[in-house]
């Protein structure tokens, strides 16, 4: 069997595998969900890319926010290859 014939057979096998997969695929398109994004908790498409407002603000200082030593976020529960990590405020 020539090399070309081998690869042709292989290609046919590979294509048959893909076709078998394609036949099992679910229809991709889904109806729109509420808020035109994923409204499930935390998934946040409603908020993602929130964009602009016309509002002015002075109440909270958003300039040069300082570090506060308060209970941190969820990062403290994730083990890295070097053990549990945390945020380390640097002066």
């Amino acid at each position: 069997m020539s090399i070309n014939k081998t690869s042709a057979v292989l290609a046919a096998t590979l294509m048959a595998s893909l076709a078998a997969g394609a036949a099992h695929a679910q229809g991709a398109a889904k109806p729109m969900e509420k808020c035109y994004g994923v409204a499930k908790a935390g998934q946040n498409d409603c908020k993602a890319g929130a964009g602009t407002t016309c509002a002015g603000t002075s109440k909270v200082n958003f300039q040069g926010n300082a570090w506060k030593l308060v209970p941190a976020g969820t990062c403290t529960s994730i083990k890295t290859s070097k053990g549990l990590g945390s945020l380390t405020p640097k002066a």
């Binding site: 991709a28 908790a41 890319g49 300039q63 926010n65 890295t80 640097k90």
Partner: protein, 252 residues
């Protein structure tokens, strides 16, 4: 602001000179643009704050998982540093923060959290997918039973994929699902992600190395035969992998 460091063009108009000076004052450089005393200083503070808040709110909206990982206060501090370093360059704030993952690479307080830039990169792909052009996803049945090995599959405009050195995908998924227990169980390993938008909803899923090989080949314009061979060589179960990719709406 000294003229030595910021030479003024000779023909600059009064309005341009004012805006140059006001902009510098907003950025915290140089003196106030015009005599105006405390009323001007007060106005500058309000404008500076409003502008900074808009950018920080946009960043928080685009990186909700980084925010959760850091906690609100630490995220605000980080966002403040980023906004100073890379202020918005255009009015479309919904796309603001493209440079945030790279910024986090060098962000000293998060040096112990090597996965954070990866999670941020995943969040960026999510935003890109959300706003990408519309296209009909390739339907599995439309492909038919006989696939041409010389055909080239085109990725959907919203499709994004990448491999991370960290378990960034599991960390992201645990936050999406609000599953704190899963966070404690995250196994340290490299993971790859596929982000798609079948219909109008963004989907995020973990994919394996063969799927990455297949998508990489397709993305670089290789034929279906080459892509399938690459996936097979990476040890992929082709039918399962292809069913997953079609279901996710990865192709157009």
């Amino acid at each position: 602001m000294s003229d030595a460091t910021h030479p003024q063009p000779v023909n600059q108009s009064e309005l341009a000179r004012f805006q140059q000076a006001f902009g510098a004052a907003l950025a915290g450089q140089g003196a106030t643009p015009v005599a105006g005393g405390s009323a001007l200083a007060r106005a500058l503070a309000i404008h500076r704050n409003t502008s900074a808040k808009a950018a920080q709110d946009a960043l928080a909206a685009n990186y909700p998982v980084v925010r959760a990982l850091f906690g609100d206060d630490a995220f605000s501090a980080c966002a403040g540093a980023f906004v100073s370093a890379e202020p918005p360059r255009e009015p479309r704030l919904n796309a603001y923060g493209a440079g945030f993952p790279a910024f986090l690479q060098d962000y000293a307080p998060a040096a112990e959290l090597s996965y954070v830039p990866d999670v941020a990169a995943l969040e960026r792909l999510h935003v890109e997918a959300l706003f990408a052009a519309d296209a009909t996803s390739l339907d599995g049945l439309a492909l038919g039973a006989a696939l041409d090995p010389e055909a080239v599959l085109r990725l959907h405009p919203a499709t994004r994929f990448t491999a991370f050195p960290s378990p960034a995908v599991g960390i992201w998924l645990a936050h999406r699902d609000g599953d704190e227990a899963a966070l404690g169980e995250v196994v340290w390993r490299p993971e790859a992600v596929l982000v798609t938008r079948p219909g109008l909803d963004v989907r995020v899923e973990r994919i394996n190395a063969p799927a990455v090989a297949f998508l990489s080949a397709c993305a670089s314009g290789q034929t279906l035969g080459v892509a399938a061979t690459a996936a097979a060589e990476a040890g992929g179960d082709l039918p399962t992998m292809f069913a997953m990719l079609i279901t996710a709406g990865a192709f157009a």
